[in-house]
């Protein structure tokens, strides 16, 4: 599909305002505040491996694990990434070791694992695993692009993101940016806060996405959760584990990436991740980013973004690689 925005020259006055300095910086139009901007390289250590590459790693992840390559993970024959997109039908190559990693940001932990059926269907065992990658590419095009123009469908009119789509299509031009930045500067310098859905951390060094710090949002680090809520998530995860083990995966790993507020501003944290991860009934093996991030004195998050920085992602990759070796899934 060709979008009107594709035809823009991004450097011209009617070009698109581009998110270059972090998603939260972009949302709050705070590009003029240096402290929220940090370079974030996207290349990672390539683990050395001399054995036979017999492992296929499937990653059911979200934006934290975008842009990963085969070479970032140890000993892979191939790497298939599908964003949280269920109802997929795919084929396992049983001549290889198939490993599934389910990665989820903390802010989606409750919403994804309390109601949704996270089941993809394994059709047969012929070697057609690449189907998944194909489906992933199709799905990202249809779901994640502001698409009011030129193709308009009924879904666009009842889309919960219609206001964002309208803003993107009506106002996302370079020549309007000074107006947005003036408002952002007014709020930042006079009222000491950010605009819209972005909140400045108590130490004023980080930006947080409002829904990760609001007490009324399920994705928040401070949203009240009970042990029953956590137990329910564990039940769902165990069901998912059973499903994929029966389908033929050698192992299923689970990893929650903490909200930046969970680590950087832990007072009042609802303890959701430890409640889930420490439940002895949980059958999935963990890539436990929470404990490692929490104990470390390093900073693993970008100051102006909802995501981790290069150091955080590298640490997580190291944990994943170590786990695969330890569990003899790459040899």
């Amino acid at each position: 599909m060709k979008y009107l925005t594709d035809a823009r020259d991004n450097n011209s006055w009617w070009g698109i305002y581009q998110c270059l300095n972090g998603d939260l910086v972009s949302m709050a139009y705070l590009d003029f505040v240096d402290r929220f901007i940090e370079a974030n390289p996207r290349t990672f250590n390539h683990p050395s491996f001399s054995g036979e590459r017999k492992t296929i790693l499937y990653m059911d992840g979200d934006s934290f694990t975008w842009h990963l390559h085969d070479s970032d993970i140890i000993g892979l024959d191939s790497f298939c990434y599908f964003q949280r997109n269920h109802g997929l039908k795919y084929h396992l190559d049983t001549s290889k070791r198939n490993v599934l990693v389910i990665e989820v940001s903390e802010r989606y932990l409750q919403s994804y694992f309390t109601g949704l059926q996270m089941f993809n269907e394994v059709l047969d065992t012929s070697a057609r695993k690449r189907d998944v990658a194909g489906i992933y590419l199709t799905s990202i095009n249809s779901s994640y692009t502001a698409s009011l123009l030129p193709s308009v469908s009924a879904d666009d009119f009842f889309n919960k993101y219609i206001n964002q789509n309208l803003q993107c299509n009506l106002f996302n031009y370079n020549f309007i940016m000074p107006m947005f930045e003036t408002k952002a500067a007014l709020n930042y310098y006079i009222f000491n806060r950010a605009s819209g859905d972005v909140v400045i951390s108590n130490d004023r060094n980080f930006l947080f996405f409002r829904e990760t710090v609001s007490k009324t949002d399920m994705g928040s680090s401070y949203y009240p959760v009970s042990t029953a809520d956590a137990a329910h998530i564990v039940d769902v995860l165990n069901g998912i584990y059973e499903h994929y083990k029966v389908a033929g995966f050698a192992e299923v790993y689970f990893s929650v990436i903490p909200n930046s507020a969970t680590i950087m501003q832990p007072e009042g944290y609802n303890q959701l991740i430890p409640m889930v991860q420490n439940d002895t009934r949980l059958r999935m093996k963990l890539i436990d980013a929470y404990s490692v991030f929490k104990q470390s004195h390093d900073v693993y998050y970008l100051p102006g973004d909802t995501h981790w920085n290069h150091k955080g992602k590298q640490l997580w990759l190291d944990m994943l690689n170590a786990r695969l070796v330890r569990d003899s899934l790459v040899q």
């Binding site: 009119f157 107006m179 408002k183």
Partner: protein
């Protein structure tokens, strides 16, 4: 779709321009009906079926009531009322009722658990249900003939400016206006737009700014100082006023642009010197609904002082329940009822003072009373409300942080003062001069954009 969204601005422009491009009322009614359906479906599309169902029932009930006499006339009215109240009972009160039954069983040691319904409350349900009931009651009372044209009747219930948060209209006021073709009138457009902008100002510049303080203090009661909590409570009084009256202003303005006059819903409620007066100035369309359809049929003040007091209590209890299925709303309604009864007794009335200082003191005392009662309305449960009020009264030390910096706090106070001044001394929204209108329009757009707080906060009264 909320009024304070980009989606609404686009929707409003498209619908209004299309509306005036049509040269007959039939087309306009059809357009407004389709637009209203879309407006409602933008929240949860499936719930249009519930609204549609009650519209069909009330439409036929209206005609059957008109045709019948005696007991069958009453029977059709009762069927219509049961249908409307039934929808309210299922969607709004069922879970509250069952939750309390389950809790009672638990209290007596029986772990019976009747399942709750897992569904969201249809938006604005209490508003359009009450408007629909007003139609069948008025037809029953022969104050208005039954509407033959289904589309017109459907539009009476669904007219998008007042569909989800009122004002709750009466058929004799709205139906004739919906049926009459009225040509484009620039003066109405100017007045309507000016009023809408004032409503936007109250919502996005004042109410949503005050919400930051209110959310902070009500969310951190334990560690906040009494001063912070009192500030939060006072700000909530103004937040809910600016939020709800702002919605009414936008609704009345949007309708005015299309040459439809809606009833006024607020008249400076915080300048009231008694709770009785407050209720004649706050949410007038609901207060008058309860007066006309509950209080007077119960006997009003015609059956002696004790019966009058009981009637007042019933009305305020229902008013509390109307707002929400929670003990906090019931407590809020009952407390208002009790205080209206107590404070209108002759002993208190004699305290009335005709001089300005005395009158001002009464206004201040009444405002404090209303503010304290709003704490019940805002809190999650009665214990939390009581705790909040107790902490204000016990002059506790604690954090004075109220969620915004001092400049924004002072700015908020200034905005409240501007709002009160404007509503007391500059009430009219009609601007005769075009130049002045364009200047006002431009200035208000700039102010709303630069000083507005845009977090997609829904209007508080949408939940009702």
């Amino acid at each position: 779709m909320t009024f304070n969204s980009l989606q609404f601005l686009v929707f409003f422009m498209v619908v209004t321009l299309w509306f005036f491009s049509l040269s007959n009322q039939k087309g306009r009614i059809l357009l407004l009906l389709i637009a209203s359906c879309y407006f409602y479906m933008a929240f949860i599309p499936e719930y249009i079926l519930i609204l549609g169902g009650t519209i069909v029932i009330d439409y036929f009930a209206g005609m059957l009531i008109e045709k019948s006499e005696g007991r069958s006339r009453k029977a059709w009215l009762i069927i219509s009322l049961i249908a409307n109240i039934g929808v309210l009972a299922v969607f709004k009160y069922y879970n509250f009722f069952i939750d309390n039954i389950n809790s009672s069983f638990l209290f007596f040691g029986k772990a019976t658990s009747i399942p709750l319904l897992k569904m969201a409350l249809p938006i604005g349900l209490s508003f359009h249900t009450f408007q629909a009931m007003s139609y069948t009651i008025e037809v029953y009372r022969k104050n208005h003939p039954a509407e033959r044209n289904f589309m017109v009747y459907a539009l009476y219930v669904m007219f998008y400016p007042q569909l989800v948060a009122g004002p709750i209209e009466r058929p004799q006021h709205i139906l004739p206006q919906l049926k009459e073709f009225r040509p484009y009138d620039w003066n109405n457009v100017k007045e309507g737009l000016a009023r809408m902008l004032w409503g936007f100002f109250k919502k996005v510049v004042i109410a949503d700014r005050l919400a930051m303080v209110v959310d902070r203090t009500f969310g951190h009661t334990q560690e906040s100082s009494s001063l912070a909590l009192a500030t939060g409570a006072i700000f909530y009084s103004f937040q809910i006023y600016c939020d709800f009256s702002g919605y009414s202003d936008i609704a009345i303005g949007a309708a005015k642009v299309m040459n439809v006059g809606l009833m006024e819903n607020f008249k400076e409620p915080y300048s009231s010197s008694s709770l009785h007066e407050f209720w004649s100035r706050w949410h007038i369309s609901l207060s008058s609904w309860f007066r006309d359809y509950v209080y007077i049929p119960l006997g009003g003040n015609r059956k002696g002082p004790w019966r009058k007091r009981v009637n007042i209590l019933i009305v305020f209890l229902l008013s509390g329940l109307w707002h929400g299925a929670n003990w906090t709303f019931i407590a809020w309604g009952l407390l208002h009822g009790l205080l209206v009864i107590l404070l209108t007794r002759p002993a208190f009335s004699k305290a009335a003072n005709s001089n300005k200082t005395g009158a001002l003191i009464k206004v201040v005392i009444n405002f404090i009373l209303v503010t304290l009662l709003w704490v019940f309305f805002r809190s999650e449960n009665i214990a939390a409300a009581w705790h909040y009020i107790k902490r204000i009264g016990s002059l506790q030390t604690g954090s004075n942080y109220v969620g915004v910096n001092k400049i924004e706090l002072m700015f908020s106070v200034l905005l409240i003062a501007i709002m009160l001044y404007r509503e007391k001394y500059l009430r009219s929204h009609a601007i005769a001069s075009n130049t002045r209108f364009y200047f006002y329009f431009g200035a208000m757009v700039v102010i709303c954009y630069f000083f507005g707080v845009f977090t997609e906060n829904q209007f508080i009264y949408f939940q009702f």
